[in-house]
């Protein structure tokens, strides 16, 4: 991947690609991490990629999960009672 800026980056986009996609929010304070951050700060492409990856995860996290339906709970306990009646009074050891 080439840079959209004239600046010479210490790392290339392809060098940080794996790191970028793997550690979206990692708070690692290493020399490598500082170089990666310096690259991202100056590279439009990597900034756009990182932002959109973060937003992807964010949208899935924001997607509401419904509460357990009361019917599912009722059905579950009915099945468990059947299990108990079948003679499985307690789990196998």
């Amino acid at each position: 991947m080439k840079h959209t800026h004239i600046h010479t980056h210490l790392l290339s986009c392809s060098e940080i690609y794996t790191h970028l996609c793997e550690n979206l929010d990692a708070k690692i304070d290493s020399e490598e991490c500082r170089r990666i951050k310096a690259h991202i700060a100056e590279c439009e492409n990597c900034t756009a990629l990182l932002d959109s990856l973060k937003k992807t995860v964010y949208l899935y996290r924001k997607y509401p999960t419904p509460k357990v339906p009361a019917a599912a709970r009722t059905d579950l306990f009915a099945v468990i009672r059947l299990e108990q009646k079948k003679g499985k009074k307690r789990p196998s050891r």
Binding site: M1, L49, Y60, R61, K62, Y63, K67, P69
Partner: protein
């Protein structure tokens, strides 16, 4: 002064269940029902399938609790059961090949890649999630092969560590990391048409 009753630990509840205390099993179900339901729902993206998985998981827990030796956290064991329940036998080899191609950084000399890297719209998530984005999110995640989807849900949505995800799925930690990376890129690509500014 009267002592307040303490909440029994998972280990204490499990010990009581193994001795035949059915009320303890009810308490254990109540404690973990939303965890199991939420995980199953996030994996299946379908209420009926999630219900099936929810029931199968707790029935399996009831049947197999004797095999739980307490060496791992109970929640890890529980996630393993849900994941196994949701794993389908069908493999999607073609898509797996595509996902492996995500290990290479895109070539920005290719004009089509510029479009792929366009910035995303800043519309707030709450507004987007009221509309057809929900369907897009569901469709995209359903396309992932099961072992990728499970890793994505465990790591990014349930926020389990790479080590715990490896223990739940039976994958190595590097395999968890590569599946997570590819899943994120795949899902990002699926949403790109919808999201770009």
């Amino acid at each position: 002064m009267k002592e307040l009753p303490t909440t029994p630990t998972d280990a204490a509840l499990i010990a009581r269940i193994k001795k035949g205390d059915e009320r303890a099993f009810t308490l254990l179900v109540r404690r973990y029902e939303q965890t199991v339901w939420g995980f199953a729902y996030k994996l299946c993206r379908d209420k009926e399938k999630a219900e099936e998985s929810f029931q199968d998981t707790f029935v399996n827990v009831y049947r197999k609790l004797g095999q739980f030796d307490g060496r791992s956290k109970f929640s890890t064991w529980l996630y393993t059961i849900v994941a196994n329940n949701c794993l389908m036998k069908r493999r999607r080899r073609k898509l797996e090949d595509l996902l492996e191609s995500y290990d290479e950084a895109p070539d920005t000399d290719d004009p089509s890649v510029h479009d792929q890297l366009a910035s995303w719209d800043d519309t707030p998530a709450e507004r987007l999630l009221q509309g057809e984005l929900k369907e897009t999110l569901d469709e995209a995640i359903r396309k992932l092969p099961d072992d990728y989807r499970i890793v994505f849900v465990l790591r990014d949505l349930e926020q389990r560590t790479a080590e715990e995800t490896a223990a739940i799925t039976g994958l190595s930690v590097p395999a968890v990391k590569s599946r997570l990376r590819r899943s994120r890129i795949f899902l990002r690509e699926q949403l790109h048409g919808f999201m770009k500014a």
